[in-house]
């Protein structure tokens, strides 16, 4: 008899450390919830008459239904579901409209520059040189930092933003010279020079500059490692090689689109 009895388990942990089985815990939770409900329900019954509960439930249901039925109703628009292209207009009116459509299409096509054009995404600091629909070059650039510079005494304020819109290349220069404006001295904490000659700085704009109005230009930089970040004072800084290509490809009058 004693040989058939199971041997006592030596390695089993003490009974107190065994977590209760999941079903046990669930049962405990259910029991707790039941006890709580049993305690709460008589109080709820006392506070609310049956009629009140019904009215409140009905109001809640109506509000829920109203909320479910209020908002925005969306319908999918199938792709390629536009009106069919009318190739041979049947009526005189349709012929007139077809002719006008051709004219308008041609007018819209003429909006795209025939020669090269430049697009600058100042948010992502990318410059593209285009010809028609073709991208000739894409390169990182640096647009305006958006910083605000305040001059303590005189209270002048400068905002270093790159303007948005359509511009044109108005002039081009090799080995441009920077005539430093007031903010360049204010930023450095230097006195503003009285002699205009003291404003001249060589080499900081790189090999080329393409002016597109109001003192803004596309030029080179000494800080190529910062290309791709908005660090300029409003001009567009470009790396040496892309700048060379843009300078050679973009004649005067080339449109520059900045967004």
């Amino acid at each position: 008899m004693s040989a058939e009895a199971p041997p006592p388990s030596v390695s089993s942990p003490p009974a107190a450390e065994v977590p209760p089985p999941v079903s046990n815990r669930r049962a405990q939770a259910v029991a707790f919830a039941r006890a709580a409900l049993a305690a709460l329900l008589p109080r709820l019954r006392a506070a609310w008459s049956r009629r009140r509960v019904r009215v409140a439930s009905a109001v809640l249901a109506v509000v829920a239904l109203a909320l479910a039925g209020t908002g925005w109703d969306f319908e999918p628009v199938p792709a390629g579901a536009a009106a069919p292209v009318v190739s041979k207009p049947a009526s005189r009116e349709a012929s007139r409209l077809a002719a006008e459509r051709e004219r308008l299409q041609a007018a819209l096509r003429r909006r795209v520059p025939r020669g090269p054009w430049i697009v600058i995404d100042q948010t992502h600091n990318r410059l593209r040189l285009m010809r028609g629909d073709e991208t000739l070059l894409e390169a990182p650039c640096s647009a305006g930092s958006g910083m605000v510079l305040k001059e303590g005494a005189k209270g002048r304020v400068w905002v270093f933003d790159t303007p948005r819109g359509r511009f044109e290349v108005l002039s081009k220069t090799e080995n441009p010279v920077w005539k430093k404006p007031d903010w360049a001295f204010v930023e450095e904490g230097e006195p503003i020079p009285k002699d205009p000659g003291d404003r001249i700085e060589y080499g900081s704009l790189g090999e080329y500059a393409l002016y597109f109005g109001n003192g803004y230009m596309i030029h080179g930089t000494l800080y190529e490692r910062l290309l791709g970040r908005p660090v300029s004072h409003g001009c567009i800084r470009l790396g040496r090689e892309p700048l060379r290509s843009v300078y050679r490809s973009a004649p005067l009058g080339t449109p520059v689109y900045i967004y």
Binding site: F74, E75, A81, E93, L108, M147, V148, G152
Partner: protein
């Protein structure tokens, strides 16, 4: 008296001629389709003659492009274009069938894109040369490197471009992308948009009549949110005839 009446009639006729042909609907279905197309192209020509940026949503080709003066600056592929109308107690308010031929302008982002500008107070300039033997004046600390667009702006999903004429464009994103937005902020956005939906459907606050919903790749949606110029216009092309 007769001459005066005649001059008034002539002036009225001249004014109506200057205003362009009346938008009478043709009985010929082909002509009707052309009429819509031509009206839309006229709108596009008007927009391309202006100085403002505009979005061109091509429903047939499923493209959303940022345009300026007829030139496409950026272009995104869309999927799942939907057209929504406000609904109150399961009754929706249908717009006029030619709403897409009207001018749609002054679009702005909702939630708004916040730009934190770094402000620098210029150091006082040293007007005199430092005395011999004295230590030179300390140079101003270097300006902090501004954040890139990805670091600066977190992108909600969905977001809306709300136009002045009661039209809005809801942009949803597909996939993860680099939105740079915390879970809590996304939950607050979602609750805010649901409340705004209820309000606009009930005619409180914003007066949205039409909502277009497009889905873009997450990176495209983020790129559009970060770079959308202020006060954009909208042209919707290629909607099926109604």
């Amino acid at each position: 008296m007769r001459a005066r009446l005649l001059s008034i009639a002539l002036a009225a006729a001249a004014a109506s001629a200057a205003a362009g042909p009346p938008p009478a609907r043709s009985s010929d279905p082909a002509a009707r389709a052309l009429q819509r197309e031509v009206a839309q192209m006229r709108r596009e020509r008007e927009l391309s003659a202006g100085k403002g940026f505009y979005l061109r949503l091509d429903a047939a080709r499923q493209r959303l492009a940022l345009m300026l003066q007829g030139v496409m600056l950026d272009d995104y592929g869309t999927s799942g274009l939907e057209l929504g109308v406000p609904e109150v107690l399961f009754v929706d308010r249908r717009p006029r069938s030619d709403w897409d031929l009207e001018s749609i302008s002054m679009g702005s982002l909702e939630p708004e894109r916040q730009r934190d500008r770094v402000e620098i107070i210029a150091p006082t300039p040293s007007s005199t040369e430092p005395a011999e033997g004295a230590s030179p004046a300390p140079s101003p600390p270097p300006a902090p490197t501004p954040k890139s667009a990805e670091e600066a702006y977190s992108v909600p999903s969905p977001y809306r471009i709300v136009f002045g004429e009661g039209v809005s464009l809801e942009v949803r994103s597909r996939g993860e992308g680099r939105r740079n937005r915390t879970l809590l902020r996304r939950a607050v956005d979602a609750a805010g948009l649901r409340l705004s939906d209820l309000g606009s459907a009930l005619g409180l606050g914003s007066q949205d009549r039409i909502r277009l919903r497009v889905t873009l790749e997450a990176d495209d949606a983020a790129s559009l949110y970060r770079s959308l110029p202020p006060d954009v216009g909208l042209i919707v092309a290629g909607l099926p005839p109604r």
